[in-house]
Structure formats: structure tokens, C-alpha cells
Amino acid sequence: MSKVKVARKSTRIDMTAMSDVTVLLLTFFMLTSTFVKKEPVQVVTPASVSEIKIPDINILSILIDPKGKVFLSLDKQSDMVETLTSVGKEYGITFTPGEIQKFKIQKTFGVPMKSMKAFLALSSDEQDKTLKDLGIPTDKTDNQFKIWIKNARSTNKDLRIAIKADQNTPYKVIKDVMSSLQDLRENRYNLITSLKKVSAK
């Protein structure tokens, strides 16, 4: 009986090619993607055929959740600080440097002015938890939203306003936001949508 000789082969796999591929993929992801912003509420934007891309910088985005809560976010931290101090001045509130620092690192803000100080005193975990139940008041008697927009505009003239609202938001809320913007003569703004392919016929 002849013995079958088993050739001894090294089990070592050459990983160089694999490494090449992963580095390529990594480069692709690093170059093409943008970081997801942390948002206090989940928002599903409606789809549209519009294909205009939103500009990268100088965006003041207004986030509206299905229940009608309004949040704001500015992309420049320096603008955020200036806006906070000038809004604080209108309400007679001065912020300590520590509070300003805490406000600066927030991605999205939306707290009524009277509870702003208490909110900034919370730890960031607690802030995330409470933020989704707050929101900037937009009603006619206490339209803080308008004051925020007005001050944000005066700190940065090149701001573009973008509205990101959930598709199930009642029109009443949108109407309030839009009419506040109209009162401030902000007549050009963008509505953020997701892409939908539709043929004309």
C-alpha cells in the first residue's frame, strides 16, 4: 500500500492585497462622507424631485419634529456664542464663560430662554435626555424662535435658512414658522427633502 504523501504547506495567507483593498475603501469613505449630526428628534423628511444640494457652510437649520417642537442648529460655533449672548441680552440674562462653553459644543439647541441656565447646568447625558421634550416656543405670545432667528441673522449676514421638518408635521406648525420668517423678511429659504425619482409622464 502506497502512502499518500501530504505535502506540508504553510497556512500563512498573504494579507497585503487585503490590506490594499481596505485602505482604498477607507480612503473612499473618508473623502466622500460627512459626519452625521446628532439630532434630538428623529425626523423623516418628505421626498421630492428637486436635485439642488444644500451648501456646506453658513447654514441655519430649523428642525421641526412631528409634534411641532422646533430646534435650531448653526454650523459655526462662533456664531452660536454671539447669538446666545445677544439673545440673552434681550431677555436680560448674562451667561458665564462656563455656560457659554457648554452651549458651544451642542449640535442642536432648542430650549426656552427661562430654562436655558438650568439646562446648561445639566450634564451632557441629561441634556440629551431632556432636550427632546423641550423646544423653542413659536406661539404668538412668546415668539422666542423669531428672536433667535433675528439675532442669528445679525451675527452672520450670509446665513442660509434651511427648514428640515418631518413629513407628518401638521401644516399649522410650518405655517407659524414660515410666517415668523416672513415677519423678519426672510423670504428665501430651503426646504430639506430626500430624493425621489419621478418621470414627468
Partner: protein, 219 residues
Amino acid sequence: MSEIQTSDTGGKKKKGGSKQKKISVFVDFTPMVDMNMLLITFFMLCTSLSKPQTMEINMPSNDKKITDADKSAVKASQATTLLLTGGDSIFYYNGQPDYKNYSSLKQTSYAANGLREFLLKKNAAAVSLIEDLKQKRLQLKISQADFSKQASAIKNGKNTPVVIIKATDRATYKNLIDALDEMQICSIGVYVIDTITKGDKYLIKNRETKGAFAQRGSK
């Protein structure tokens, strides 16, 4: 690939008859791949690839100082008013509303054979011109700048319809976007988002109750 073989076969040593020594430098890339995979996973989870689309919109100013003379009056024959209500339904009327006859208010939907069909028919002349222009653009006969210039000229032409969009509080944001979308699809150049009036609410109620509301009111 990651192996470098060096053999010390110097001329002198050959003579000496010493053993040939092969040194293989093998770099193990497995940890490198591990790390890269981790990084890729991180980037895939924490970033978004697509930028959000936007729709640009110009609203009329709320300024009370504007006199009636400054307002451009819309010819009643060209205007169509869309009333967006809850339950994804749209009511529309052409020109002036007829408060007496409830059937003058027509109902339609956001489906392709609803509002879009109606608007395409109404704007047929402009739509066919835009289609021609798009064809020309596809065949690279005209530049993008020319295309957008001519397209806006067609859209804002003299006899194109004007659409007034009025949404009730029951409508959702999606309804508004869908309606604005139809304006783009149907190449309608002039459209306005307006606040709903009492008259419009009356019309909708009257339509929903098939005229019973008006009769009750007149009693």
C-alpha cells in the same frame, strides 16, 4: 508579496563553500487589515454619504406697507387655487370661486393621474416646450446656462397658469412638499403659498357636505 528574500550569496563565500543562507523578511499584514476594517466600520456607521436635497423657495413678504398697486394682480382665468386638506386630498378651483355651486370645487389626489394630469393639461404648451428643450440639452446642442435661461423664460411666459397653494391646518408638511413638487414636475413657473381664508374653508365644508352646509347657513 510582503516577503523579501535576500540570499547572501556573495562571491567570496561561494569559494569558501559555506552554506547558503536565505533570510526571508515576511511582514504580517493581518493586524493592519484588522485595524482598517475597524476604521471602515466606524466610518460606515457614523457618517452619511448623501447630502440632503433641498428645495428653494421664495415667499412673498409679509410687509404691510406694500400697496395694492405694487401687487401684481393675477388674471382670474389663469389662476388655479389648490386647497390642501387632510387625508391626502386636494380641492381645486379655477379662477374665482363659485360660492353657490359646491360642485365648482373639484377633488383630486396626489397620484400621477390626479393633480399632475390636470396641471400638465393646463400647462401643456409650456410642458411641451420644456420637453423639447430638455431633448436639446441631452443632445448637447445648448449649454446648461442657456438651458436654464430658456427654461425660466418659458416657465414665466405670458400665458402660463398661476397656481395658488393654500393649505388647511389638517394638511401635513408632506402634502405641501408634494404640491410644490408637482409645480416642478409640471413646469409651472409662478406659484404662491398663501394662507387660507374663511371663504376657502367655507368652500371645503360645503363640498364635503355636498351643499348641505350652505343651505344650513342660509336658513
